[in-house]
Symmetry: none
Subunit: 411 residues, 2 copies
């Protein structure tokens, strides 16, 4: 069973937008045992759309299409599909209702252009878009499904999760696929690979190990495929049990997609509250934490202290410490963390101060130098110096993950 993904959009072909849709879709499909064999990006051009779909149907069992469903003139996917599958466009009641719901939610009046978005090809199955006005649709030909979705990532994602993947699992027989993700922190890819070389060499062919490095964090994903559901699951479990003792020192959690989720679990279990005092990460730690629903249960707030005045006036950092040791120093990091605990009235706080670059470095403290501190309300505090020299975004991400990992271990 093979799936071809076709992403439609001129913006993808002039390099204005990176095609993250394809990799996200491939990852999600793989998780449930469905295989992607090809991805094609084409422009909003009727002949090319038609040619690509016909070609995909020759080699693949299923075609998933994104893009070209907007209300504007440059979007022609729907009409092209309707022509291909000899289907006239008729107003779909459910689609119209959905569009009206979204417009009234946003307090807008329905325009003629938007009403047209409720026109759907007669012979297609309507797929609801809960978060946008462009509905999806599914055609069937020679027992193969051809499914069209919007190109806006969050609209496509909810449609995939709620409707498309269930539809595919009903129509096709997936393999048994089990994944286990193991999150490590504090060790680089090549060192970890040396550490577990024997384990990796001994893995049976149908169990694969993938290294998924991100900023200052490394996820290992073990994937087992097989015909027999229970057997596949058990085999995977056994390999995980073999792996864990080897990486004990760096292990930080399972399956969650990021450190903030591991932290959230721990905080909820122990009914603790946290805050952050951020200089160089500029609010990124706060942003990561508050991206999780329910964060208000354990997260009270943060002080983003980019300037020294804010460090002094709001966090209570001693101006003499800044003068003597500099803003990027152990002393200032620790005072920031302790200041945040006290001023924001929380159990624990993280603090960051460093040089994100590209400018601002010196010989003694080059770009990439950063101090991270964590403190609790008993007044205990630890600090760690690192150098995360690379580009600005990566520096911020690595520092944020360092702070989250330090706090997880500190609690």
């Amino acid at each position: 069973m093979n799936i071809e993904i076709i992403n439609i959009g001129d913006e993808l072909l002039i390099g204005q937008v990176v095609n993250t849709n394809a990799s996200w879709m491939a990852l999600e499909l793989n998780k449930v045992g469905l295989n992607v064999n090809k991805v094609t990006i084409i422009s909003d051009n009727a002949r090319e759309i038609e040619d690509s779909i016909n070609l995909a149907l020759k080699y693949s069992d299923c075609v998933l299409i994104t893009g070209g469903l907007g209300p504007t003139k440059d979007d022609i996917t729907k009409i092209t599909l309707a022509n291909m599958f000899e289907s006239t466009l008729v107003e779909n009641e459910k689609a119209l209702e959905n569009i009206k719901r979204i417009f009234s939610q946003r307090g807008y009046v329905l325009s003629e252009t938007n009403r047209k978005q409720a026109l759907m090809p007669e012979k297609s199955l309507y797929i609801e878009n809960l978060v946008g006005t462009a509905a999806g649709m599914c055609f069937e030909k020679d027992n193969k499904l051809i499914i069209s979705m919007p190109g806006v990532p969050f609209e496509m994602k909810q449609m995939m999760c709620l409707h498309v993947i269930p539809l595919l699992l009903k129509h096709y027989k997936p393999m048994a696929i089990y994944h286990k993700t193991i999150i490590t922190q504090g060790i680089g890819e090549s060192f970890l690979s040396d550490l577990i070389e024997d384990f990796e060499d001994s893995l049976p062919k149908h169990i694969r190990l993938a290294y998924l490095p991100s900023a200052n964090m490394l996820r290992l994903r073990l994937s087992a495929r097989g015909e027999d559901d229970k057997k596949t699951k058990d085999e995977l479990k056994k390999e995980v049990e073999k792996l864990l003792p080897l990486i004990d020192k760096y292990f930080i959690g399972f399956d969650e997609t990021d450190l903030s989720q591991i932290l959230a679990k721990k905080l909820k279990e122990n009914k603790l509250t946290i805050a952050s005092a951020e200089s160089c990460t500029g609010g990124n730690i706060a942003h990561i934490i508050t991206s999780n629903a329910g964060a208000s249960e354990y997260y009270k707030g943060s002080i983003i202290a980019y300037s020294n005045e804010v460090k002094i006036n709001i966090l209570g950092v001693d101006p003499k410490s800044i003068e003597e040791y500099g803003a990027v120093s152990q002393e200032v990091a620790q005072q920031m963390a302790l200041g945040a605990v006290q001023r924001l009235g929380v159990d624990y706080a993280m603090a960051t101060t460093g040089i994100a670059g590209p400018d601002g470095g010196s010989q003694e403290k080059p770009v990439g130098t950063v101090w991270v501190a964590v403190a609790n309300k008993k007044g205990e505090v630890i600090a760690k110096k690192s150098n995360f020299a690379s580009n600005r975004t990566n520096f911020i991400d690595r520092t944020s993950n360092e702070a989250l990992a330090m706090l997880i271990r500190f609690i």
Copy 2:
């Protein structure tokens, strides 16, 4: 003149790696007037590689291939190309020299496997890889170029810039291509499309308009193509001049990729400082602002006031206002903005308070309700209520862009 890009690699098809190569290549090719009409991702499979190249040669004038040139057994692009173009593999002196140079640089001993990387197809043109051991190669068939490059991004990039683009410019006659991106805010795609319908209908065929919506912001891209460089440029300019008065109310800037860059420009020009007081955006505005290098010039800090205590104690919001109107209200948003101006000592501040969801909504204030305020140090303040109901991430992004746009207009 049309180019097809073929990216080869299993890791791209299981979603482990996002295909950033294609968008980078498309962007660079577009800059010099070369057009990409299709991108295909396939696995390391000889039949698929051959089929895809043959198909590309049918529709396109040039094929650029990346990936599958490594020294290990799973990399088969070179041997597949050699077979396709009836070429035997022979040791290439320049390639061998380059490999030896790189190995001695890294302090490694040359292995047999790596020496094999110096084998090149007889009938191909050798393309040097300054930063890696996998050489590139160029075949010619029916006056069309087929070029194979390594998949490692920084190796591919230097090869493109140093060798491939010059090769293409010599072989093909590039078109004149000009783009202009116009950023608007505060109007949805369909409404804007209605507004400029006549303009859009009157566009000549070689000038195209694209709508690029993101969270609460809409970029319009006009692209002109032609044979004559000056004429194409002038035509584009004329169309931009026609378009601008129609969208005056929503226009916010040119060409920058996001609102924070437009804001940064304005702040630097006027030597102003800013801060934010964020509840529902949880540090995302601070994060967006500090993602820009040099932000410390105009950005002092932020208070992330997730809990009411922080709103009261650090920002100085009146507890009576929270009790009377609720934390999500015009009064609280305004007090937060004014509090940030005062406590952080800046010229301007943005404030957000809202219900990000999925929980916490009521009939009166459903999930998605948000108040955004901007204030200055004269004590002037404006606030605006919106409903950005969707998912949590999108709510945060839309609210952040609303705040940035309001501030840009307020200054």
